[in-house]
Symmetry: C3
Subunit: 302 residues, 3 copies
Amino acid sequence: MNWLTPHLDPLVNQLSTCRNCLGANTTRNTNLPGRGAVVELLGHLVTLLFPGCHGHAPVVEELAGNELRALLQTVGETLEDHIRRVLCHACAHTPCAECGECGAKARASALKLLNTLPAIRECLREDILAAYEGDPAAHSTMEIAIAYPGLHAIAVHRVAHALHKDGVPLIPRIMSEHAHSLTGIDIHPGAQIGPGFFIDHGTGVVIGETCVIGRGVKLYQGVTLGALSFQKDGQGNLVKGGKRHPNVGDGVVIYAGATILGGETTIGDHSVIGGNVWLIQSVPPGSTVYNSQPAPVIKAKK
Amino acid sequence: MNWLTPHLDPLVNQLSTCRNCLGANTTRNTNLPGRGAVVELLGHLVTLLFPGCHGHAPVVEELAGNELRALLQTVGETLEDHIRRVLCHACAHTPCAECGECGAKARASALKLLNTLPAIRECLREDILAAYEGDPAAHSTMEIAIAYPGLHAIAVHRVAHALHKDGVPLIPRIMSEHAHSLTGIDIHPGAQIGPGFFIDHGTGVVIGETCVIGRGVKLYQGVTLGALSFQKDGQGNLVKGGKRHPNVGDGVVIYAGATILGGETTIGDHSVIGGNVWLIQSVPPGSTVYNSQPAPVIKAKK
Amino acid sequence: MNWLTPHLDPLVNQLSTCRNCLGANTTRNTNLPGRGAVVELLGHLVTLLFPGCHGHAPVVEELAGNELRALLQTVGETLEDHIRRVLCHACAHTPCAECGECGAKARASALKLLNTLPAIRECLREDILAAYEGDPAAHSTMEIAIAYPGLHAIAVHRVAHALHKDGVPLIPRIMSEHAHSLTGIDIHPGAQIGPGFFIDHGTGVVIGETCVIGRGVKLYQGVTLGALSFQKDGQGNLVKGGKRHPNVGDGVVIYAGATILGGETTIGDHSVIGGNVWLIQSVPPGSTVYNSQPAPVIKAKK
């Protein structure tokens, strides 16, 4: 018995009586996969998309045969398990009515995601090329696949968005928040983003749930594609629900720190939005938008 | 003997003669816990606050009994060890005078933190509810507990602040910088923050050491609550010491990219501060503050 | 045979026929070290620079003798292996012509980096002192070495820059992107940065490839030292190649959110650039620059 022992009983009581409190994931009440489990699953999915890039060594004959098959098996079974848990949690029946619906839907969704991977990989190929063409500092496409945070964020997004579109709750959000943690780029799984997408630097980028972004769009760090807030609402209330984030046309470039807000705001194809611009209205295709703010004051040394 | 061997002796000499240089943590000179050790401890504390959320699997019967007790024991003993080391390092006597004061204080502080955990958990319950009510994209409270970076940042802050208030050096800073690394949200352990606090997205948020923030406050990404700098001081000198960061009243909302500076700046209760606003003066309760900058220039395609 | 089995064959075919696609690192085609391997190597290099700081425990007699020698041996051999692979990949001959040039260059570069470590450590000593003097919230130099993201970013940069200057491709970029992921600070390995450099908070900082930064410079979060974009080019084209990022003189302070752009932009010694300033022209030594934007509108409660 050490100095701590006498103090443990009351603490155990206080912390475990919080059995029904918010923020506890238990087999009896919520039975969800933990964040660590979903992050591990995401790591496997990224390995399927970029074999040999994020681990320690290049793939011998590219996961040929048994290794690739084994990874797909693991990913498929884990997806089925995790999706079933999150569906049961979101289900109206608590505890689960054991109707079997969640299990059947989980299996179908897991298989659907696996079958979408080749198309996602093709889309990421266009994203890699867009980064290579769009960044004067990029020396090879492998540099982009291995090192670029913008590519990692869009890769995770394309997986998370496929799950989100298929009605899978929670798991896509855990995935996108993990990418956010690694890259500083926060893309909601609901956002629709065309191929050939490139985010350079990326820290501070926020892309909202109902954004619709065309093909070949390029963003820089600190760009927000968000909801209009009190600027439209004199009472300071947050606008909730429905379409609340902007549309961005094909080939648009948005420079660092620009903020574009509102569900009715549409940036026409091939427009260029300058750094730090604050934009809450639509602009026609081919527009160039920049700040008209006065130049900074420069005071010489006395 | 390989190609490297002949080159190692001079390098070993150069790198180890730097025995007294800055940036080396050795048993003889500093004897501090490493960052990795503190991060592991923090992981255990987060597990106590959100059981089953961040690991791989839900808790079976919520850490009931032995498992919870064992984790509390580990956390208590590790806290005692780490706090004793940082106190000895901060102590005027180098090497330690072995007076026993640091050891006694370490044990008391470790116990105090453990006994504060139930109150922290209750406070985080309010933070979860604030996020649920404040974000139209949140579908369940578990989504917030498992995935939201803003919740993670405030959870770590509430632990770090308790240690900081109790006079524990270094450890709170390592904890807050770890949360900063994961979330992009930089909250100094000294900041006082009321319950029901919600940061959405969060990347780039900076909250300074002497901030005092009320109940039910909501911030978005890129908000700085910082010290006034040369704007107040014609010679470009940093204002040091004392109260140097703002006060934020109850129910205030601060939109993305806003900067509020200065220890005498107070934002009255229920005010709303618009995106990108730069504010270095107090505003009364119920104020709405927004930028008056001219609209951006929109040039049509030629 | 479970439910997945019949679906695996077509997937294995589709994902492995992408053998020549972008984003796959295989022994036959690219044979590069994976990101995980480079990150592990970087961890060892950081341990050599800050012994005992980032692991679990302080160094016993500071890696004295055998331990330090063993780590140097590992680092040297790993560097040689990784550098040889990235040189072969960048080499015109694919597959490698086995001319031996890459191997010889790899060995020389690995040794060169090891021999640069003492000088890098000396430089970091000045960086630590600059942080200690520049931040009113810093209580000890160990706090900076263990916890400060700005110091971590500049430490990784000084290693990555040494490799970059020596003509090593890819590895420096993986290193700098790893630091970017941990700190939100994105410094291209090509940037030249003098000693005594301090970045406070740091999230969102971007420092471009051709920046030249003097001694004793201090930056805050969200500062961009970037390339001029369409502001100078009426057709919206990205300016590529050559010197495209600014020069920053000795003793300059740049406050949060400032943007300084262009390869011909020079900030004279000891200038102070205010928060959120947008600067695309040179300023003479000793300048003070701040925004002249109108004060925000403050509306009282009705």
